[in-house]
């Protein structure tokens, strides 16, 4: 038994992944937008699962107030003050040295999003603001790249899997990002560490489903969670008729 086979054998044994699925994971190229609380666990799980290429984007540096939930960093990273992208890459390589990691220390904007999406199969969202999410949302629709949205605050979280041409998108939730300006943030109302890990785990599971091509099993709508109240719901969403995602869905396949 090769080391590589042994390393991923527990996924290989799974009916939903198997050896073929492991090969899909190995050849996958994934962009993680933001490496804070969600992005920490998302990156760790994807790297440990053997995703071949991870591009991680964040412009911040780890702070002591991050450490209770941003499990990719340690006290030394805070003391050194290196960017999250740099610390994330170094720490992930201690867990999975066979994964190619492109760590990018920038703020995502409309000028750089195309370059960040270049060669990527899936985008996993771990941003902390809706304005930047809309930049990513619009770009993935244009390029037809699946996008796993996730958000957390207090004890709540939500996850939505966006597959261009098949599902609604973020604009079907918020027609305009200005509608959600001033939303509650961890820095003002707090966030429970465990809900961040829960939501990140669901996002990674959705990523695996997309990589396996099992679109029947993805979340259809938006999952809304309150971990303190033990509440998990999936709220159905219909694409807004005038939305770009609806227009893409109405195009003939292959067009």
């Amino acid at each position: 038994m090769s080391d590589e086979f042994d390393r991923y054998s527990r996924h290989a044994l799974l009916k939903v992944i198997g050896s073929t699925g492991n090969e899909k994971i190995r050849s996958a190229r994934v962009l993680v937008t933001g490496i804070g609380a969600l992005g920490s666990l998302i990156s760790i799980l994807l790297a440990r699962a053997g995703v071949g290429f991870l591009r991680l984007v964040d412009k911040d540096a780890p702070e002591m107030s991050n450490l209770h939930r941003q499990i990719l960093y340690n006290e030394r990273d805070v003391l050194v003050g290196s960017p999250k992208a740099e610390a994330a890459r170094a720490n992930l390589l201690t867990m999975a040295s066979n994964v190619e990691i492109d760590a990018v220390n920038i703020e995502i904007d409309r000028n750089n999003i195309d370059l960040l999406l270049d060669g990527v199969d899936v985008v996993v969202d771990a941003l902390d603001n809706s304005e930047t999410r809309f930049i990513v949302n619009d770009a993935i629709l244009d390029r037809k790249i699946p996008y796993i949205f996730g958000g957390v605050v207090e004890t709540m979280g939500n996850v939505m899997t966006i597959v261009p041409g098949k599902t609604p998108c973020l604009r079907c939730l918020w027609p305009d990002p200005s509608h959600v300006l001033g939303h509650a943030r961890a820095s003002t109302v707090g966030v429970l560490s465990s809900v961040a890990s829960l939501v990140a785990s669901i996002q990674v599971t959705e990523t695996f489903k997309v990589l396996m091509g099992d679109l029947e099993s993805i979340i259809h709508g938006i999952m809304v969670v309150d971990i303190w109240k033990n509440q998990f719901h999936v709220v159905p969403i219909i694409p807004t008729p005038e939305c770009l995602c609806a227009k893409i869905a109405s195009q003939p396949s292959g067009g």
Binding site: A126, L173, V180
Partner: protein, 79 residues
């Protein structure tokens, strides 16, 4: 007219006896807006919310119709 109001996550705390994900039947005059239903339910006007009427994104000033299902949950956008 009759409206089904469905609250998720932290929102049931504003409506005593309500349970997340379980519809509450609301009686309202014709042409009542989403905002009026939310105000009457005691949900603060300044809360950032996701509003869906029959699964479609809605605004507070949208008028409701008989048997509409209004689903509401907080904007959860931290990362």
């Amino acid at each position: 007219m009759t409206i089904d109001l469905i609250l998720y996550a932290s929102l049931p705390k504003f409506v005593p006896g309500s349970v997340a994900g379980i519809p509450i039947t609301v009686q309202a005059p014709d042409q009542t807006t989403v905002g009026v239903v939310l105000s009457q339910a005691g949900i603060p006007d300044d809360m950032r919310l996701i509003l869906l009427v029959n699964g479609l994104s809605a605004t507070r000033d949208q008028e409701l119709r008989e048997n509409d299902r209004l689903a509401v949950f907080p904007t959860i956008a931290g990362g």
